[in-house]
Structure formats: C-alpha cells, structure tokens
C-alpha cells in the first residue's frame, strides 16, 4: 500500500432538483418573506457606472423545449473590469445575480451593466464576458458557460480561441436586438449546443 495523500476529494454534486427555488429564491417558489433579504436579486444598484443592459433568453433541452425550472447565477466585474472587493471597484456593482426561467414561459432576464475587459493569468486580455452557472432538475452538476457580446471585439479572447470548432463560438455570443438589449439562449443538447466549460 503506497502512502496516502493528505488531500481530500471534492464532495460530489447532485442535481438541484425542481424545487431549488425554495432554498435559493424563496419568492419565486411562492414563499415571499421566508428571508428578510434574498441574495442575488440584482448584480447592480442604482447609479452603477456603465451601460445598463438586459439579456433575455431561454434554457433549451435536447428536444427544443425551454426549461421552466432552471436557475442561473451570474458573476462579472464592473464596467471598468474590476471585480467587487478589488481596489477601485464600483461599489454599486455586486457582480452577482440569481435569476430563473419563468415557470410558465421559460424566459429569463438578466439586467446588469456591461462588464469591462479583464486580463487572464497569461497576460492576454479577455473580451468582456459574464460567467453563468446553470442548475436544474436533470442537471447532475452545474453547467458553467459565458456570455460574450456581438458588439465587442472578441477576436483575441483566449477562451473563444481555444474552441477548436470555431463554428461553435457563436453559441457564447449574445446577439444585440436593440440598444442595450441582447438575447442569449443556453442550449443544453443538440443542434447549436452551447459550449460548456470545465475551469
């Protein structure tokens, strides 16, 4: 028997299930008032610097059906590319949001400010993006992805350039539909399947 490592193994994930909102978004579950303050209601406060944008979309399964029970979380820096807590970060940007697919229509909306560019560890500049984590019934481990923007220069982004099949890059790019409005669908499986990340 070889020596034992003193490292631990990560706790295995399990699905968030259909009632994830009870614990994470009580008002959505029909339980308004369970907490005095729910977290992640908005990633920005009034007066946040930068362009306020609205991203709408659906989470779509392998049959083309929009999930009605998906919950998402997003994480991003402020308009200048600073994450909350960093020196000089915009105090009106918490950077964190929880949002869910509508239980009747499956549509979600994320209202935030457009993030600034952030340097990767390699020194390369990453194009502006929002990190998104999707959980739901039927998803055994949360799916990570990113939202980029079609009206930004994404050509030098290190992550997008790592995608071998460049025809898949467009699955990570939000389409602009009007001033400050974007659409971004998350396709779990099948044609135009979203690129999901392991980082």
């Amino acid at each position: 028997m070889v020596q034992k490592l003193d490292t631990l193994i990560e706790t295995p994930s399990q699905t968030a299930g259909p009632y994830v909102h009870i614990g994470c978004m009580p008002t959505y579950a029909g339980n308004a008032g369970a907490y005095d303050l729910e977290i992640g209601e908005s990633p920005i406060a009034d007066g946040a610097q930068g362009e306020v944008i609205e991203i709408t979309g659906e989470v779509i399964d392998g049959t083309g059906w929009a999930l009605r029970d998906a919950m998402m979380e997003s994480w991003q820096p402020d308009a200048a590319g600073k994450f909350p807590g960093q020196a000089g970060a915009d105090p009106k940007v918490s950077g964190y949001c929880r949002f869910a697919a509508d239980s009747e229509t499956g549509k979600f909306t994320l209202r935030t400010v457009k993030p600034g560019a952030v340097q990767a560890r390699s020194g390369a500049m990453q194009a502006p993006h929002i990190s998104v984590w999707v959980v739901a019934r039927g998803i055994n481990i949360g799916l990570q992805t990113r939202i980029y923007f079609e009206d930004e220069d994404n050509s030098a982004d290190p992550l997008l350039n790592r995608i071998e099949q460049q025809n898949r890059v467009q699955t990570l790019i939000a389409k602009k539909t009007a001033e400050g409005k974007y659409t971004f669908n998350i396709v779990l499986q099948g044609d135009n399947e979203t690129v999901f990340l392991d980082i």
Binding site: T7, P12, P18, V20, V118, G138, N140, I163, V195, I199
Partner: protein, 246 residues
C-alpha cells in the same frame, strides 16, 4: 480580497470522476438535459477565482433554525428534531471560513413548500423548508431542523427519494460553486435511488451520507447528524513565474 488576483492560485482542476456524469438513463430528466459535446477545459482565471461574498447582515435571527424560522419563533414545525452540523473544507483540507451555506428540504411528510409540488402529503403550517448560515472562522456550520420525509417522484414506476437535505455552498470563488444533497445514515432508499446512483463511485456516494452523531445530540431535545463538505482547492503559485516544464 487581494487586488492582485493573479497572486491567488488557480483552482485545482475538477476531478470529474468524483462527480456524476451529465447523462444517466436511469435519471430520466438527465437524458434531454445533458450536453453531448465534451466540456471545454482550461485553467481558471479571475472570473472563476473570485466570487460573491456575504456578511452576517444578510442573515435574520432564525435563518439557520428551520424548526422555528417559518413562524419567526411563534410555533415549531412537526417532525423528528435534528441538528445538522459539519465543516466546509477545501481539497487541501483547509477550512473554508465565512462562506454562505444554504439548505432546503421537504417537511416530515415529504411535502415541499413550492408552488409546483402537488404531492398529497400535507404542508406543515409551521414549516417553510429553507435555511442558511455563514461558516465560522473554522469553516463550521450548524442548522436545527426536522428530518425530511421520503417522497415518491415520477421517474420509473415506483421511485422514491430517500430522506435528504439539499445543500448549496459558495466557497470564495465562483468556480467552487457546488450544489449537492445530504442523505441519512441507514436509510434503505439511498441505494435504490437513481439520483443518488448518478454517482458511480460508491465511496463518493457514501460521502453524502451523514452519520448519526450522538455526541452532538441534546438529551430530551434533538438528535444530530454530521455532514462535512469539501470544495475545490487552489494550486500553489510558487513556480507560476517559470515557464511550464522548467
């Protein structure tokens, strides 16, 4: 948080074998909800190594007491009273202090307080089913609650979920984000459950089974279960300024 994010070590790459695969035909909803393409792997960066932080100002007086929090202390929920407690650690076996832990669960009869749950076991007017707390400086947390009941669900012809409590843990980085479920020692439904069985390594599944902890039980009041949670750790950054392989 350090202003120099690059000084914080990258996250240890996730050991995907420790987790359930996306696709498992016995958990039917995973079939249309699992990606067919492989994940895109790359080293973590600022977007994954930073994350939201929450202070005690978000917590209400009763937030980690599910026996009393739905009625704000006016009347207790019905069921087997238990303390669920443990530590949040990382893969380097270091405690994860000051991090938010959220739980949700069904009531003693297996009924959830959710607009979409129509199981005919009744709601308990004194039980909501959600709780949250923040780990202390040693990564320790505790909840007082009632033991949730098992419940049937439409999967195969006669599938029942074991008694379980859902856990959501943040850690200090968005890339550490984890949702899982805690099961109870001795429950015969655990090894019949297709959701538990999405975890293919029996040893890993057993890390979700909380043992009865009589030392923490309070006589004439509540039993206790111990549930420790391990999040991803960070690599050392000592040699980061050298080229790979040097």
């Amino acid at each position: 948080m350090s202003d120099r994010i690059q000084d914080r070590g990258p996250l240890i790459p996730r050991n995907r074998a420790a987790h359930p695969p996306a696709y498992d035909i016995d958990y039917k909803t995973s079939v249309p909800r699992s990606p067919r393409w492989s994940l895109l792997s790359l080293e973590s960066g600022p977007s994954e190594e930073t994350g939201p932080t929450f202070g005690h100002e978000i917590l209400g007086e009763w937030d980690n007491n599910l026996i009393m929090n739905w009625t704000r202390g006016k009347a207790p929920a019905v069921g087997e009273r238990i303390l669920v407690h443990g530590r949040v650690l990382d893969e380097n076996a270091r405690p994860v202090p000051h991090t938010l832990v959220e739980i949700w669960q069904a009531n003693a009869g297996g009924r959830y307080r959710h607009k979409k749950d129509s199981y005919f076991a009744p709601l308990d007017p004194n039980f909501g089913g959600c709780g949250r707390t923040i780990t202390d400086e040693n990564g320790y947390y505790e909840f007082l609650t009632i033991r949730p009941g098992a419940y049937p669900w439409p999967n195969r012809g006669n599938d029942w979920r074991p008694m379980h409590i859902h856990f959501s843990i943040f850690g200090h980085a968005f890339g550490q984000r984890l949702i899982s479920q805690m099961y109870f020692e001795g429950d015969p439904l655990i090894y019949r459950c297709p959701i538990a069985a999405t975890i293919k390594d029996r040893g890993q599944l057993d890390t979700l089974v909380a043992p009865l902890d009589m030392a923490k039980a309070r006589p004439m009041d509540f039993l206790a279960y111990k549930f420790d949670i391990v999040l991803r750790g960070r690599r050392q950054t000592m040699f980061e300024n050298k080229l790979e392989g040097m």
